[in-house]
Amino acid sequence: MKKHTFFIITLAFGALLAACSKDPISDLTYEDTQVFFTNHDKEANFKEYKSFSIVDSVYIISNQGEGTSLSETDLAMISRIIHNMKQMGYEYVGPDDDPDVGITLELVDNRYLNLVQIPVGGYWGGYWGGYGGWGMGMPSYYTYQQVQELYWIVNMLDLKNPDTANQKLKVLWNAQIRGEGLYEPSLVPPMVDQLFKQSSYLKNN
């Protein structure tokens, strides 16, 4: 065996090992795939805010078009946020009752189509004896693979101190939920609870 063959065998084996890897997160449950991001205005004193109001539907941000939605899951999200805000000590009031903070709820739903080529085998089993050694004259076979990016955004806006000069409302608290199973109604309560659990600074009581 020529010496350079050693190099080829060893490097090929190394490349093979590098290419082979298992998916370490394939065993995660829907709940375990979910990641909760929260951030807040570090200068805000949340004890100053006593009442809140929340939007009556979910705003959909999508590359397919935007609009509002009030499905079973959307309603469950709104209800659970109200529940948690009350637990934190805030009073739930209507939008016209001069709330101190306003809560918005958005669902980002972007969908992309990727063109992929399906590799189709050219072996037909040699069943028809007259065509021994023949292959298939098959055209390239293409299909589309859809990729979806879906996540929730929750914002808490300061309605008590509006920036009237610049016509802006300051974001006091921002939260995002990413992962899988985000639109499962049964998973909504633990999802929303986690956002508030990791944001104990929001407590008002």
């Binding site: 084996f13 997160i25 995660l28 375990d32 990641v35 991001f37 951030n39 990413r178 990791q198």
Partner: protein, 220 residues
């Protein structure tokens, strides 16, 4: 008739005598593995523990999914062999849901920390009792490149870094031939590997201490 039979037996015995003599000569010859520079391939399975800064909140669990293949030239009339080795170390650790600070954000996630190193190194071995002893202890040194892949999963979101760095190591082992002058045997070894990879939790390279069991085959 009887004379013929006697003649045949005499011929056979004479033949046996010659072949016995030839066989005796054969055993006085050195093994071809001593007379020629030959090749040795060893496939190993390794149990490994990570060492160094990687164990500070990233991965400190041992791993049993590590492999290596080495091919060597075993030099004639020298207790030395040299060659190449390719392998793979893989470490993984799952952490239950916890809150991490990433930038200004509080991030709650189930974290899965993984690290893969694919060492591609050159090696030199010194065999204390020669290269053909049935039980052959040796020491080896390796130097080359490690292809590192660091992937820290927060849920399904990943923080990943791939980088090739310098890698080196050394070890001691024992080769056992299943037969005298045979081509096949068992290899057991302990080794330490180190590289200069730095990213995230890994601030000072990755060390691995491993024990290995393998099978080898030699040919010329």
């Amino acid at each position: 008739m009887n004379r013929h039979i006697l003649a045949i037996f005499a011929f056979l015995f004479a033949g046996l005598g010659v072949s016995e003599a030839q066989r005796a000569d054969l055993y006085t010859l050195e093994s071809p593995y001593q007379r020629y520079t030959h090749n040795l391939a060893t496939l190993r399975w390794l149990g490994a523990v990570p060492l160094g800064s990687i164990t500070d909140g990233y991965v400190d669990k041992p791993s049993f999914t590590n492999y290596s293949l080495s091919v060597e030239w075993v030099f004639r009339n020298m207790p030395i062999s040299a060659g190449l080795e390719a392998g793979k170390y893989y470490f993984e650790q799952r952490y239950p849901r916890a809150i991490y600070t990433v930038g200004q954000n509080e991030v709650s996630a189930v974290k899965t920390s993984t690290y893969t190193a694919v060492p591609l190194t050159g090696l030199i071995k010194y065999h204390f009792l020669g290269t053909n002893a049935r039980l052959s202890p040796y020491v080896q040194v390796n130097i080359g490149a490690h292809i590192n892949t660091y992937t820290d999963y927060f849920g399904i979101l990943a923080d990943q870094k791939k980088q090739t760095t310098l890698g080196f190591g050394g070890g001691a082992g024992l080769k056992y031939f299943f037969k005298n002058d045979g081509p096949v045997g068992l290899d057991v070894a302990v080794r330490y590997d180190q590289n200069t990879f730095k990213y995230g939790y890994i601030t000072n390279g990755v060390g691995t201490l491993a024990g290995s069991v393998g099978l080898f085959y030699r040919w010329w």
